[in-house]
């Protein structure tokens, strides 16, 4: 669905090494017009290098970055950062400490040599959008973390870039402000109609904000999908493990699922082709049910129960399986520690993946 929108940025075969470290390994991505795109991965996965390459602060060793436009593709690699129709919101916000909020926001417009009246009008407008009209004369040092982030955002969107890159935009904020700003960022993206590309290591943040997410690991893109598809149909074990929590059972491929030594045949479905015989079955904790002995797929003993109000998570020790199996139930769990329980799941809720994929 999202793929039908015209791409605003097409990355093909980007690679970048820093000495021995591979930061980007053959990255190809299409980012669509007006979408909220997230680059998600653990630290050191190359997501920030990718963002900085798009902004113009790193030079990829190989590959192309093209922005299709009416007058033909713009080849980004030929433009210095100041000439790219892209703005970056820095993780540190990088507000100019010797300038007021107003002057910070006006800085980019003044560099375009726009008439003074237009600069003043657009600065006033954008400060109103981010709700900082009253702070126009303040210095960055006098603002709270959330306010600084709004200034950084205002300074970037006032340029009306075709694309806004955000490097860990919420990491410097405390929990409560972060939740507010997540909603705020989504609202702003709708309002200004700019393509947003967010870099984050926080999967909840990516899931709650983005239309599509690219999960990265070791410089490579593991999977690009909508949050729901990433969660329900992970393509690799890394994605399944990184997004949400999951139980993994390693074994060999059978017609109906996976055969695990000591546990027997476990049912699952294959959303992606599996090339190898070695395979892994992934089941989300909330897809596992407590069941009657005759329907049981796995038997185990309850090790621990964590109650979260709306749900509880059981850790169940299953014989012959190294890690405890996590099971999420609605409300309080109907069992207690030490009880013998029987687990089962619907085959369509379990995903079979190739081990080496």
């Amino acid at each position: 669905m999202t793929d039908l929108r015209p791409p605003i940025l097409r990355l093909t075969g980007l690679s970048k090494r820093f000495g021995e470290t591979v930061a980007l390994d053959d990255v190809s991505l299409d980012i669509a017009q007006n979408e909220f795109f997230a680059l998600l991965g653990p630290s050191g996965c190359g997501k920030t290098t990718l963002l900085r390459s798009i902004a113009g602060f790193e030079d990829p060793d190989t590959g192309e970055m093209a922005m299709p436009s009416d007058t033909g593709d713009i080849n980004l690699a030929t433009l210095p950062p100041e000439r790219r129709p892209i703005n970056l919101m820095f993780q540190s916000y990088a507000l100019f400490p010797h300038m007021s909020v107003e002057r910070n926001v006006a800085y980019g417009l003044e560099r375009e040599r726009l008439p003074k009246t237009e600069v003043r009008q657009r600065v006033g407008q954008v400060l109103e959008t981010v709700g900082l009209t009253g702070k126009a004369k303040a210095r960055p040092a006098q603002l709270s973390g959330g306010q600084r982030q709004r200034v950084a955002l205002a300074r970037a969107i006032v340029k009306r870039p075709r694309m806004l890159l955000l490097d860990e935009p919420l990491s410097a904020l405390d929990r409560k402000v972060r939740a507010e700003m997540q909603l705020e960022l989504k609202r702003l993206q709708h309002e200004v109609g700019i393509t947003f590309v967010v870099v984050t290591h926080d999967q909840e943040e990516a899931m709650s904000m983005a239309d599509r997410i690219a999960v990265m690991s070791n410089g490579r893109v593991e999977q690009v999908d909508s949050p729901i598809d990433l969660y329900e149909r992970p393509r690799t074990i890394f994605v399944a493990d990184f997004i949400g929590s999951s139980n993994a059972f390693e074994g060999t491929l059978t017609g109906r699922g996976v055969h695990v030594a000591g546990l027997g045949d476990l049912p699952g479905h294959r959303p992606w082709p599996v090339a190898t015989d070695d395979s892994t079955l992934i089941v989300r904790p909330e897809d596992i049910r407590l069941t009657a002995p005759q329907d049981s797929l796995l038997d185990g003993t309850v090790l621990d129960i964590q109650f979260f109000g709306g749900s509880s998570t059981l850790a169940v020790s299953v014989d012959q399986h190294p890690a405890p199996v996590l099971v999420t139930t609605h409300g309080a769990a109907p069992v207690s520690r030490g009880d013998r329980v029987h687990l089962s799941w619907a085959p369509e809720r379990a995903v079979v993946l190739g081990r080496t994929a």
């Binding site: 113009g56 820095f90 990088a94 800085y107």
Partner: protein
Amino acid sequence: MRRLGWLNVPLWLTYAFLYTPILVLVVMSFNASKTPYTWTGFSLRWYGELASDDLIRQGFINTMIVAVGATVVATALGTLLAIGINRYFRSAWLEAYSLTPAIIPDLALAIGLLAFFALVGVTLGLHTVLLAHVVFGMAFVAAVVLARLGHTDPSLEEASRDLGAGPVSTFLRITVPSLMPAIVAGALLVFTLSLDEFVIAFFTDGPATPTLPIVIYSMVRFGVTPEINALAALLLLVSFTVVISAQRLTRFTDSI
């Protein structure tokens, strides 16, 4: 704050030890007597004689030429040196090497510079003193600016580029202003150091253009006159003003 108690005693003794000589000097500069050590009454006579002394006036002008010139050149070069080291050479060795002129003994620097000037065949004069002061002044400025660069967010310059400013514009609008407190502090440091610098000036100056410290030295050789007290008091005033305004300015620009 905790009360010092009996530790007040050594504190005030230390202050007395530090400031009594200065206080005596300032008081004696208002002495009417011709001998510098006995008080006979208040007078501004020596300040008047100071103003009419051609040798001292010329020395003062020479010193100001050297101090202002060395400050301007050393500040510009030292700032560029610091930025260059910070950006292109992340090497502790190179950093230490650039800061050496600030810490090696004046005498060694002075003799080295004198040998160098003789080698390249430059006649000694105010210009050689100025160059010599630039050598150590630059190192002081670089040290102060480097310290500031350590606390500066490197993304500031990237943000400026990202917002559409070219490299030159970014340097003038972002890099220099964000370093300004350190640049000003470094400049004032060089100015005060150059103002009363004696050893290096003595070695690298020509005979026709003595700087003020050299003039004073040649006067004192025949005994201290009350005129010298007045001159020293004035120099003290200049140094204090410069240092205090430097501190004020740094605090002011830091707070914004």
